[in-house]
């Protein structure tokens, strides 16, 4: 007997993730362009008397904007794209049902060029089994009160709750 199946990443989640990535990419693009234009304007406006101030301003603007773009690209856009790819893989590929109540372990795994995952234990009547779940969804999964999970290549794709 199966209960209600809840997708770990719903269609709405995927759409929200896509929109978030797009917004950040556009934002970073606009910031880069604005910083570059600001620095060019500063260079164009510089005269003998103001050159040192303008140079310092350009260095500060360029450095701060660059840091924001680097941070956003690495930790928001790239991480978001990886999570999206992971989520799409979970939605598309064949699943395996495993019974047991998910419990988080302390083990984190950074998968190369993919997400950071948390290892979970599936505790039930039988032997304890393990699976992995995206770190961003791990706590939600634990709190959901699932009685079984559906995995793709060992990663939780959906879970079952009593209907």
């Amino acid at each position: 007997m199966t209960g209600k199946i809840v997708e770990l990443y719903s269609d709405a989640d995927l759409a929200r993730l896509e929109r978030r990535i797009w917004r950040w990419r556009m934002g970073l693009l606009v910031l880069s362009a604005a910083a570059l234009i600001a620095c060019i304007v500063l260079a164009a406006m510089a005269s003998t008397g103001t050159a040192k101030q303008m140079e310092l301003s350009a260095i500060v603007v360029s450095t701060l904007a660059g840091w924001i773009v680097i941070y956003g690209s690495m930790f928001i856009v790239t991480a978001g794209r990886r999570e999206l790819a992971h989520a799409q893989m979970l939605r598309e590929e064949e699943r395996t049902r495993q019974e047991g109540k998910p419990a988080l372990t302390g083990q984190r795994v950074r998968i190369k060029k993919s997400i950071v995952a948390r290892r979970i234990e599936l505790r039930g009547a039988g032997p304890v089994r393990t699976a992995m779940v995206s770190e961003n969804r791990a706590k939600a999964l634990e709190k959901a009160g699932a009685t079984a999970v559906y995995t793709v290549h060992g990663y939780v794709a959906a879970y079952e709750v009593a209907s």
Binding site: C39, A46, S47, T48, G49, I59, T63, G66, Y71
Partner: protein, 164 residues
């Protein structure tokens, strides 16, 4: 906490970007705020302290036709690149340093140099911008200056000598 952890994990990237930013914009501003030797007069001052930017701005207030800018540098530039001494237009040197540059300067108004600061009287030119040491200072025109023939080097030197 996660933010700081992320930043520290890529600290080398952030530092590298700051360095690249500094080098690139320093180079661009040096390039943008320069002009060909024919369109600028460069003044090198071997003095204890100088407000180089303020002095250059003051001299540019009376920029003769044909010039785009005046550059004023401390003598450290000459130490870093000895080639600049051949291209400098105006030099301000203490008496004790003149021998080191024997033959590098062009006579101005028939003299080897013009006294620009006299410690005996405490009187000197451009004292609002230059702090002189305890010895006489002289102004010279560079022998390699491209502005000897057009008289612009002499013109700026005369202007410098009249500054308070």
């Amino acid at each position: 906490m996660k933010f700081l952890k992320n930043v520290f994990s890529q600290l080398h990237t952030f530092l590298l970007w700051a360095l690249v930013s500094f080098l690139v914009w320093s180079w661009i501003f040096t390039f943008v705020n320069d002009a060909p030797a024919a369109q600028k007069v460069t003044v090198y001052c071997n003095v204890p302290a100088i407000e180089d930017t303020a002095l250059a701005v003051k001299l540019e207030e009376h920029l003769p036709e044909g010039l785009k800018m005046i550059q004023v540098h401390s003598f450290d530039y000459v130490m870093f690149d000895t080639g600049t001494i051949d291209q400098g237009d105006i030099f301000i040197l203490p008496q004790s340093a003149i021998e080191d540059y024997d033959g590098q300067f062009s006579p101005i108004a028939g003299q080897e140099g013009t006294l620009i600061y006299d410690p005996a009287t405490g009187q000197g030119a451009a004292m609002s911008y230059i702090i002189y040491g305890d010895e006489p200072y002289y102004l010279f025109l560079g022998a390699g200056s491209v502005h000897l023939e057009d008289g612009l080097a002499q013109q700026i030197a005369q202007l410098l000598l009249t500054l308070p």
